[in-house]
């Protein structure tokens, strides 16, 4: 409450010296007294003051006695401009007595409000001599109204009526259509009278007023790299009303610029490492698992977020209705090893599922059912981890889950769903009620990988992941010189493998940089200038974009560094103007002759 404010003097404002509680202080002329007092750690209580808003001076808690030109009078510190030579007393008997009586008045109307109770306690107000009314949470400090109108500019909240009937409301006391859901009112309210709730995907203030998404400034999740906050322009007040601007005001490094825009940055680079990652398989089309329909069903990636300490529950494992789960099913191979979706194995899911089992057992003690096809624990130490989880009383059911449902003829306990799975080892179909179903979704190439493929002129394998030049000899290189791949862009893999591959790609790039020169293909093509007609046929057929047109000369030019010597252009050139080193006419004819020589003989 007693936040310290730094007073920065404008260069041409004169400084004045005066006394607060016997202490001589200096401040810029006409600074509001409260700022000076707080700068000097002199505590003055306030209820309606917020340094980002114009002082309002209505709670009268910050009264102090000022002597100026020999005249004593009570003023409010929040909006009293200091002048030379004044004498300020913040806690003399008259002030304390007045504050006490004001608090007694407050207690009669707001006896349950914590800030008021605390202040009353601090000032020793214990008996209320006035007719007590049912405690009201709103103390009419006007912070919400002022922040909404003066700072945010949304004009959703206002005062109505006057005198003792004054109250805070929206026009006509109905849901506001100008509220932008910024929640500023909620943040400034000193008594928590204004509440923010989630309803129908919208945040709601005080029960019935619809609001938009919550805080516009996010750091996506705790381990996000870089951990730079970003502003959601859709919910940011500044981008809607031109108001607010508090974040830029409080940012100590002036890092916030509202006029910054998304921009395209052009970087000239000699090498590119493609690490476009993966996207999780979307299990919505697999209707039988109820994803998106049953709140209990989530993907492995969502579970990862839930169990993360930076997640929405702070790492607590909770069901959507807020309970600690008693039974959890983990369903393997969702979208992987499945002819209808992806045939390949996504490799990471088995180990990830084991990790989840371990976490669930540790955090909640819930029963965990692993429904798998095969357990694939191939890496170093992986099999050992499998054994450990086996010993943690996790149920392993070999078989595919056929259905997840919230219906059972026998009825289900509140909040539970039923999984149906054929246990192929026991040869029976099991129906297990659980509180949470985790679909271990497979790995798919990132959205936009196709685009990237076109741009970089690299190939993909039948599973749509980028194709390496050679699985053993050049596992991180691609057919295009200078373009490398690493991580899940190349194929499903876990973190250790990804890191290893990334290191390899980086080393390959460094190697090229260290060499300082590019080794050319020995067998490239060359345009014979005098024969080229500039028809551009070669330009369109070159898969490596190695050919450009020299507009001045009107001929095609081949970049030796890019040419892979595939010979497509040579064959395509209608005027026979392109020759390939090592494969010129004479050499080919010689070759043919040599081949035919035996036959001729």
């Amino acid at each position: 409450m007693n936040e310290k404010t730094e007073i920065i003097a404008e260069p041409d404002v004169k400084m004045v010296t005066f006394t607060i509680d016997g202490k001589e202080v200096t401040a810029p002329d006409r600074t509001f007294l409260i700022k000076v007092a707080r700068e000097h750690n002199i505590e003055i209580p306030t209820l309606c003051y917020n340094e980002h808003l114009e002082p309002y001076g209505v709670c009268r808690m910050c009264i102090v006695e000022v002597t100026r030109n020999g005249r004593r009078r009570i003023v409010t510190a929040c909006n009293y401009p200091v002048t030379e030579g004044i004498v300020v007393e913040t806690r003399n008997e008259r002030i304390i007595n007045n504050r006490k009586l004001l608090l007694e008045m407050m207690m009669a109307r707001h006896s349950e409000v914590e800030v008021i109770r605390n202040l009353a306690k601090e000032y020793g107000v214990d008996t209320i001599r006035f007719k007590e009314q049912p405690s009201e949470e709103c103390i009419l400090c006007g912070l919400c109204v002022r922040v909404c109108n003066d700072l945010v500019g949304a004009h959703a909240l206002c005062f109505a009526q006057r005198g003792p009937e004054r109250y805070v409301t929206t026009p006509y006391d109905v849901e506001s259509d100008t509220c932008i859901g910024c929640g500023a009112c909620y943040h400034v309210c000193p008594t928590n009278h204004i509440k923010m709730e989630q309803m129908d995907g919208l945040s709601v203030v005080y029960g019935d007023v619809s609001l938009g998404p919550d805080k516009p400034i996010h750091i996506d999740f705790m381990q996000a790299v870089p951990a730079t906050p970003w502003i959601d322009q859709k919910s940011c007040i500044h981008f809607q009303t031109d108001g607010c601007g508090i974040c830029s005001e409080v940012c100590p490094t002036d890092a916030i610029h509202y006029d910054m825009k998304d921009e395209i940055v052009e970087v000239e680079a000699g090498n590119i490492i493609v690490t476009s990652g993966f996207k999780g398989f979307d299990p919505s089309p697999m209707y039988q698992f109820g994803y998106g329909r049953l709140p209990q069903v989530m993907t492995s990636i969502e579970f990862e977020k839930l169990s993360n300490a930076g997640g929405s529950t702070g790492g607590k494992l909770l069901t959507p209705d807020g309970r600690t789960p008693e039974a959890v099913a983990i369903v393997h191979c969702i979208g992987s090893r499945d002819k209808n979706y992806n045939e390949y194995c996504s490799r990471i899911c088995c180990m990830q599922s084991l990790k989840f089992s371990h976490l669930i057992r540790e955090k909640t003690g819930a029963e965990v059912y692993q429904c798998y096809i095969d357990m694939r624990c191939f890496g170093k130490g992986y099999e050992e981890f499998y054994s450990r989880v086996l010993s943690e009383d996790v149920h392993f059911i070999r078989g595919k889950v056929s259905e997840v449902t919230d219906f059972s003829p026998d009825g289900l306990p509140e909040g539970k769903v039923l999984i149906k799975v054929e246990d192929t080892l026991l040869g029976i179909v099991r129906e297990i009620p659980v509180d949470m179903v985790i679909l271990s979704v497979g790995i798919e190439p990132q959205v936009g990988a196709q685009d990237l493929k076109q741009k970089l002129r690299i190939s993909v394998s039948p599973d749509s992941f980028f194709l390496e030049r050679h699985p053993k000899l050049a596992p991180v290189a691609t057919a295009t010189e200078g373009v490398f791949i690493a991580g899940c862009a190349q194929g499903p893999k876990d973190i250790p493998d990804t890191v290893a591959q990334a290191n390899a790609a980086a080393a390959a790039v460094l190697q090229a940089i260290a060499q300082g020169e590019v080794m050319l293909e020995p067998i490239t093509a060359e345009v014979m200038e005098e024969q080229c007609t500039g028809c551009e046929t070669c330009l369109s057929v070159c898969p490596y974009e190695a050919i450009t047109k020299d507009e001045e000369k009107g001929i095609a030019v081949i970049n030796d560094a890019l040419c892979k010597g595939c010979g497509t252009c040579v064959a395509a050139c209608p005027s026979g103007a392109i020759k390939q080193w090592g494969f010129d006419r004479e050499q080919i004819i010689a070759e043919i002759d040599a081949v035919l020589a035996d036959i001729a003989v």
């Binding site: 109204v145 004009h155 206002c158 109505a160 009526q161 006057r162 409301t169 929206t170 026009p171 006509y172």
Partner: protein, 170 residues
């Protein structure tokens, strides 16, 4: 819905004509609202929206203004408007007894409109005719030296006139 739409259009057109003389400056807003109230006897929401839009005043400010100033009513008022002066001079001459009598004997409550829509009672603070207090203003006509008995007679007369009017129309 359609009804409301048409109503709004009608109000807009009427106000366009009536308020043409104003410069749409914020300083005029209280007078504009008074003019509207004079026309409709109260302030319909459509009219408030109209002023908010044309004078570029946030609805929040408008709502505070119309609930703050006593001159405005957000509810339709009765056929006859009774304003009882409760200024000091009238108070010392026992105007509060008249207020009591209006509620007790005639069912007309302060700041309310009777169920039949015939009377709205408001109290005002001094109309500047203190010498003749207590003062009751009936539809703008000032009546001095009021007593409980006189008020009773006036109310009964107005009620009777209304009944006759209704009977005639039928």
């Amino acid at each position: 819905m359609l009804q409301v739409e048409m109503n709004k259009k009608k109000v807009d057109a009427e106000l366009d004509e009536m308020l043409a003389g104003y410069e749409r400056d914020r300083t005029e807003v209280i007078m504009v609202l008074q003019d509207i109230q004079d026309k409709y006897n109260w302030l319909p929401q459509e009219a408030l929206t109209y002023v908010a839009k044309n004078w570029q005043i946030p609805m929040t400010d408008m709502y505070h203004i119309v609930t703050f100033y006593k001159a405005f009513s957000l509810k339709p008022r009765g056929k006859h408007i009774l304003q009882l002066c409760l200024g000091t001079a009238c108070h010392v001459r026992e105007a509060p007894f008249i207020l009591d009598a209006l509620e007790r004997d005639h069912g007309i409550k302060n700041r309310e409109t009777t169920d039949d829509g015939l009377f709205t009672l408001e109290t005002v603070n001094c109309v500047g005719a203190c010498a003749q207090g207590p003062i009751l203003i009936i539809d703008g006509q000032m009546r001095g030296n009021m007593t409980q008995t006189k008020v009773g007679g006036i109310i009964r007369k107005l009620r009777k006139a209304h009944k006759e009017e209704v009977a005639e129309n039928e």
